[in-house]
Symmetry: C2
Amino acid sequence: MYLKELYENKEKLLNKKVIIHGWIRNHRPQKEFGFIDFSDGTCFKHIQIVYDNEIKNFNEISKLLVGSAIEVEGTLVESKGNQEVEISANKINVLGICPEDYPIQPKRHTKEFLRTNAYLRPRTNMFQAVFKIRSLAAQAIHRYFGDNGYIYVHTPIITASDCEGAGEMFQVTTLDLEKIKNSGKIDYTKDFFGKKAGLTVSGQLEGETYAMAFSKIYTFGPTFRAENSNTKTHMSEFWMIEPEIAFCDLNGLMDIEEDMLKYVINYCLENAKDELEFLDKFVEKGLIEKLKKVVNSKFSRVTHEEVITILKEAKCKWEFEPNYGEDIAKEHEKYITEYFNGPVFITNWPKDIKAFYMKQNSDGKTVAAVDLELPEVGELMGGSQREENYEKLIARMKELKMEPEDMYWYVNLRKYGTCVHSGFGLGFERLIMYLTGMENIRDVIPYYRTPGNCDF
Amino acid sequence: MYLKELYENKEKLLNKKVIIHGWIRNHRPQKEFGFIDFSDGTCFKHIQIVYDNEIKNFNEISKLLVGSAIEVEGTLVESKGNQEVEISANKINVLGICPEDYPIQPKRHTKEFLRTNAYLRPRTNMFQAVFKIRSLAAQAIHRYFGDNGYIYVHTPIITASDCEGAGEMFQVTTLDLEKIKNSGKIDYTKDFFGKKAGLTVSGQLEGETYAMAFSKIYTFGPTFRAENSNTKTHMSEFWMIEPEIAFCDLNGLMDIEEDMLKYVINYCLENAKDELEFLDKFVEKGLIEKLKKVVNSKFSRVTHEEVITILKEAKCKWEFEPNYGEDIAKEHEKYITEYFNGPVFITNWPKDIKAFYMKQNSDGKTVAAVDLELPEVGELMGGSQREENYEKLIARMKELKMEPEDMYWYVNLRKYGTCVHSGFGLGFERLIMYLTGMENIRDVIPYYRTPGNCDF
């Protein structure tokens, strides 16, 4: 039996025989008895195992170190002095011992130390909480979109189209680098795909092709950026969710973003009570309050122009002066979410700082883009209505020196029954940082990839 | 409103005004009225739009070609002559026209033609059915594992460990190939990760590290094989599900495989009735019967040795002679599932044809591996109990000329509280082929990657 089932049926199992398997998280052996803090990872709560010298291998057991795997047969009993249960053991079998040099000891380890032992860190309470919430959040996202009639689309990982993020793409090849003779240019007809290929930076464009068939779709897969940046919020490999919705304008898109985010947060609040309480206590004080507040707030909606006006009128000394027609800085994002006392959708951004596919507004200056800014963390989602007009899209691509023919399949969507449609992107790890309070993105993905790091 | 909601509420909406958006799948304009076969992709069923010359843009509408996007305002009415509903239009707005050269016409297209138009094929009935089922099957898998307490783990895509599938890995690099001067060896300290990196062929080994912390985990992500094979069942990029369960032996693993597969099939039978009926009619006659039979059957369990004995005793002329200690061929798989009249788990395979991490049986010759063979399609899942004994694992790796130090994090799992554990791999596209009856793996993934193909 796994510990989760035991706790779920604890009334029924009280004073009954139970058999469980798991690991010793802590051990206090005494002369004639001992206490084991036991967990199998299926729920955040551990259970106490009490044994005494009636068990036949008492000597062997009392010497077991933290990390050892055991099988316990015993009776589930009420714990003395509190409402909880514990197991009074009749029999303990050793499944796998653990030596003294085991890196994960029942004490506080630094996150840096745990990163170098990333394969063991899920055995700590902190990372049990983080990765349980990561799993729950993924479940919640699939449930939200599934229950609302969206089709889950697996867009390709290897791609030969590099229109977005050129220069920041990883190359994928089977050419033998040792044998390349650079007498001139590389002959990509000899590469695996017969042309130069790389790792996707976004599934959006392919996602749009499916939205034009199913109306409502979403992607949830890995994306890549070969950017040489070593910040707390960037990685070279991360997971993205990119919904795309036909017959949906910018306002409809904001409704969906807000609804989805609240659903995911609620799902975690309901299903990760113990984990969130732990993180609230040891990682981010007020975490649960913060999450509940977002769920209960109405997100504000304001244009980029209005934001700049507010920033200019603010009695603040800015490091970066806010300007119409320009992007906003971290300090501005912070001010704005404080100003509106909650999440803020900022719409209608200057077109020159946004992507080519965004719908051009009639003012000729802005596009129907929207960023969702959250208190403390800043931007969490970015989306837009897409330019559905064939001529306008082509004109914009040419302005940006892009070749429409290279993306005929994308621009053709505007030729074959085009319609208003919108979509957004959500960086999954940013969401997990927000949900857990973890401050470094390396601590919310099992094995992180950053410049110089590709361990495990 | 989307068509799915309309159908879900059709009793309530009867004789009421409705507004829907979608695409013309077929059009029969008459002199004074017209019929539009309309779909928005949110459900498999289309709806008929009836309009007459009372609508003000009658001339414009009657000229609309297949593929055009429209907005329809009208009354939901009972259709004459059958139980269904249709929409009597008051107003039709053109959202996006579609020209005559639109490749997707209401006729039968070959699958080869549709592959070259992969960005448009989800607009056909066949691919609406296939990709709806793909999405549902993914949902079912997440629900099955989520509801059963498994943690969803995102194992890394880019990896520097090439112990499995070496030589079949894609290389990932940011080195400028044009500038490589091969005066000797490539200096990988200058590459993005400071060492040679590639695309993962499996998330299992990393998955095991999480199973040793959470007991029950699964992965669901893309995997890659740079194999130069052009068959109907191989691709270079495909999605895999790899569950890993601590304190679970080979028998327990088979229970889980059988339970999960039945759950996924049932989920599709319940949620994709229309799609499966279509596929049963036009793609694989008897598809629904086949799926129902699997759900209602008890899977057989037989050892590899028993299988060879059965094959040797069979009155068949084999192309490949069955032999103890060797792999079995397609013709053998077929015979065995017919022999047992249903799905068969074949266990205890010769160790020399299986992977290093599989648990060595006490006979010294076999490992605790299991392949699930399904009637007609052959192997669908492959799994094993893992070698949990440190010394035995190291010995086997050395026999195979592998360096245990390169995988210290994997072998250490056997040092730090080892335990019996098992896992299996399920190729997602193989499952979708089975669920839809599609015979070419290129037709069950949105954009396929095979040697020489990396389009869209």
